[in-house]
Amino acid sequence: MTSPPILQVDELSVKYATSRGPLTALDRVSFAIPQGRALGLVGESGSGKSTVLLALLGLLGPEATVAARSARFRDADLFGHGAAAVRGDRIGVVFQDAAAALNPALTVGLQVAEPLLVHRRLSRSAAMRRAIELLGEVGVRRPGEVARCYPHQLSGGMKQRALIAMALSCEPDLLLLDEPTTALDVTIEAQILDLLEALRSRRGLSMLFVSHNLGIVERICDELAVLYAGRVVEQGPTEAIFARPQHPYTKGLLAAVPRVQRDRMTRLAPIPGGLPDLTQPQEGCGFRSRCPFSVAACVLPQTLRPGAGTTLVRCHRSAELTEEAWPAATEPAAARRPDTGVRIIEGERLTKTFRLGGFLRRLRFDGGFPLLRPARELRAVDGVSLTIRPGEILGVVGESGSGKSTLARLILRLLDADGGTLRYKSMPVPRKPDREFRRRAQIVFQNPESSLNPRKRVGQILARPLSLFGGSGGEDPERHIERLLTLVRLSASYSDRFPHQLSGGEKQRVSIARAMASEPEILVCDEPVSALDVSVQAAILNLFADLRDRLGVAYLFISHDISVIAHLADRVLVMYGGAAVEEGKLDEVLHPPYHPYTEALLSAVPLVGVRERASQRIRLPVEAMEPGKGCRFAPRCPRRIGALCDEVPPPVREPTPDHRIACHIPIAELESMEPVLVRRGS
């Protein structure tokens, strides 16, 4: 006897009134969540997944028209009169950005206790007591103290836990989550996901989990609904969908995700094109303009029909396409230029320290005497050495605060280093480098929105480095710009456009074109694909690979996403707390011997299709004390030996030539670690 689904949505539609006409954000979306199960809503930006959440809660503004055949929570109609009572009481919500979702003017404890005060009418003290209990349950240490704190005093992970505690306060039956871990570091994210899983089994919670991250969704959700352009295109058990995607879009998504175990030489298969204009009614299949399998019949309206197994698919060709994979990228990897031995960049023991706290903030009164505390120092980069050879891609991976962005700027002399040397082609690079260096070393940034001057046209943006560095002697600048645009797969017509007329992926391409204009030998890329959707990301990563193959450009490629690094890099540098903890060839870093941090990092990353991960998950303790003079990682290291790690800087060991690990633990022990990723034959 199956219990009724806890949430049942039937043909939910949302339309926005815009200046260009009504925009259909959601088009008759239907799904049901059985009790105690977790449903994932997957899609990229513009798919409408967040809108579903807001619409169900009645939180959309007056510009949105919400209509549904029915939307029931248990027995209550969500759009009826009793709906408001259910919010916060039987349904809990966790939003994405904890820093923004918490009211900065109220204590955390009060915010967690509020639903209890309102819905359960507890007394103030009883509610606060319960709030402290809840905070403890979600893994906050010293919950009593934290409850009295204000949001800005807590770290990102703690804030997110507080949000979860807040959502759980009235013991809801259903939890709605909108990208709850996107803003967090990977290791913290893993802890939060652990917490969610534990809560689910302990309390029998049902969940609606919205995310664009396929790895997370695979881990947490029992069922999936894939959204594209406001419609559900595929829906069914998670395992089935991942093993055998049936809708072309799902196939495309899975093909575009960079994976750690894939043979590095292959190109990712991006999904060409962009979202359809949602102000126009979609005739037939919304995906057909981008679908490699589309035929004439795709113009007809598509319905959600049962496909293989219990999955529902919105594609009339799903049966015949069952065995077909998303077409692989056509260009095989060309042979790379060999290593010529002259190193492009050599950095030795680069260090950068920031001083915090002005004079008056350091003033302290101790028994009536004014004392000056020493200024707090932040060691952003601590004695990092690296080498990059021509045509080589060095991937730098680390979490926030690891110093990787600072390192990038040190390499380019955009920041002055406090210590260490930097050499370019064996010549030392001065503090104010000359034009030649500037020409040969360029940078691409993470955020496409701020990378381009909004007041300049694309053509002007590209013309500037050309005129500055002299172009390629005598060639007509316009032709040169055209060439650059072609290099990044944009048509010449883009030259007249302004940045705000371009999509995120297109803006990044222009950024890359601008960087390539001076014919650099090394390109520093600071998280260049982190802000892009998966399908667009794939195309840009392919572009990077192409540039490397055809022009022999070397890269310093920074990312917090190890899958991306694994896809592109030849060698990897792992950073933690400003220090380099491991460096070596990609293969060697991904497999034991590991630095303990690398091990934890690999263990935490939600990877797609890695169900066969080693069962033991390494989890790092929540918050740490200031590291001492020894290893930066020691306070959180699960393999910490003892006081030695805290006090003495770890030696650099080389288990194999050119593979370095900075750790006190002897090599033999490191080599005997369990591999986190099971080696899969390609």
Partner: protein
């Protein structure tokens, strides 16, 4: 928090000190000879020279400055050249009367302005909001002295309800009369400032209502009033505190004008008088008082802001 307070106090001291130097410097540039002004047209050159010597006007400027500054610190503000009286009591009395005007005005502006702004924001788009917004535009554009004239014409001349000028202390003819003298000037001042405050409060409130934490509050199913009161207001009112401090500065300007129009015997009118008659000691002392008061008001606003805003109050302490 302590460090912050100290920092601000130090700052005020520095500002006041620099202002004193500025004021002193500028007044030294005033044309006209002080001794001449005191003794009158028929004084002989010798008498002038003697008086100059007596007043120490021949000493180098830094000595004169120091004399003046240290004098002030001891409470000695010099003697008014024109009125032949010690300046100190003169300005403090006038200041008291101006302070009544200013104090009442700021209180009214703060309370009514904020309330109007919040009301406008919460009833956005409705009739009351539109009317208020329109009124705001109008009020902001009108200069103070015009209000004053208008008010006088309306209330004093045509309707004859209220006295147009002057002032009577409470002791003399009772509260009613005293109040009557105050109403017009205060109303004029309030009109000048209120639009500014209500406009800013409105936009601050609107922006706050758009933020993510309000969405969270709504998702928690909290009743609308509670959200407004506990979640929105504390955040929305922060910029209002800042703007009130700025308004004190504008108020000072307004007070000068209003006192002139209504012949209200306050500090502003005294200052104008001092400028017209080149009464340097009076001018210097008056300016110093005004700037000091303004600086302290700003300090008060800064500290109030810091107290209300937990980010400044606590900094990053807990783990």
């Amino acid at each position: 928090m302590i460090a912050y307070t100290l920092q601000r106090c130090l700052y005020v001291v520095v500002v006041v000190w620099i202002m004193s130097a500025l004021i002193f410097g500028i007044t030294q540039l005033l044309p006209g000879n002080v001794a001449y002004a005191i003794l009158g047209q028929y004084a002989t050159n010798q008498q002038i020279a003697e008086l100059e010597q007596l007043l120490g006007l021949n000493d180098p400027w830094y000595i004169q400055y120091w004399r003046w500054f240290s004098g002030m610190l001891h409470g000695d503000f010099g003697r008014s050249v024109v009125m032949q009286r010690p300046v100190g009591p003169l300005i403090f009395e006038a200041f008291g009367r101006s302070a009544i005007l200013a104090g009442i005005t700021i209180t009214l502006v703060a309370v009514i302005g904020t309330w109007l702004g919040v009301h406008s924001a919460t009833h956005r788009g409705k009739l009351s909001d539109r009317v208020l917004t329109l009124a705001q535009y109008f009020f902001i554009a009108v200069p103070e002295f015009f209000w004053a004239i208008l008010a006088i014409i309306l209330f004093a001349v045509w309707l004859g309800w209220l006295p147009a000028t002057g002032y009577t202390p409470i002791g003399q003819s009772g509260v009613g009369r005293w109040l009557a003298h105050l109403i017009l000037p205060v109303t004029t001042l309030v009109c000048g400032l209120i639009a500014h405050v209500s406009r800013l409060t409105r936009s601050s409130m609107l922006e706050t209502l758009r933020s993510a934490y309000i969405l969270t509050a709504r998702a928690k199913g909290l009743p609308r009033r509670l959200i407004l009161r506990r979640h929105a207001l504390p955040n929305a009112l922060l910029p209002t505190i800042t703007v009130l401090a700025v308004d004190v500065g504008i108020l000072i300007g307004g007070v000068v004008v209003v006192e002139t129009v209504f012949a209200y015997p306050g500090l502003g009118r005294l200052l104008i008088y001092a400028i017209e008659h080149r009464d340097i000691p009076l001018l210097q002392a008056g300016m110093m008082l005004v700037t000091t008061v303004y600086a302290i008001a700003n300090l008060g606003a800064d500290l109030l802001y810091a107290v209300v805003n937990p980010r400044i109050r606590y900094g990053r302490s807990a783990g």
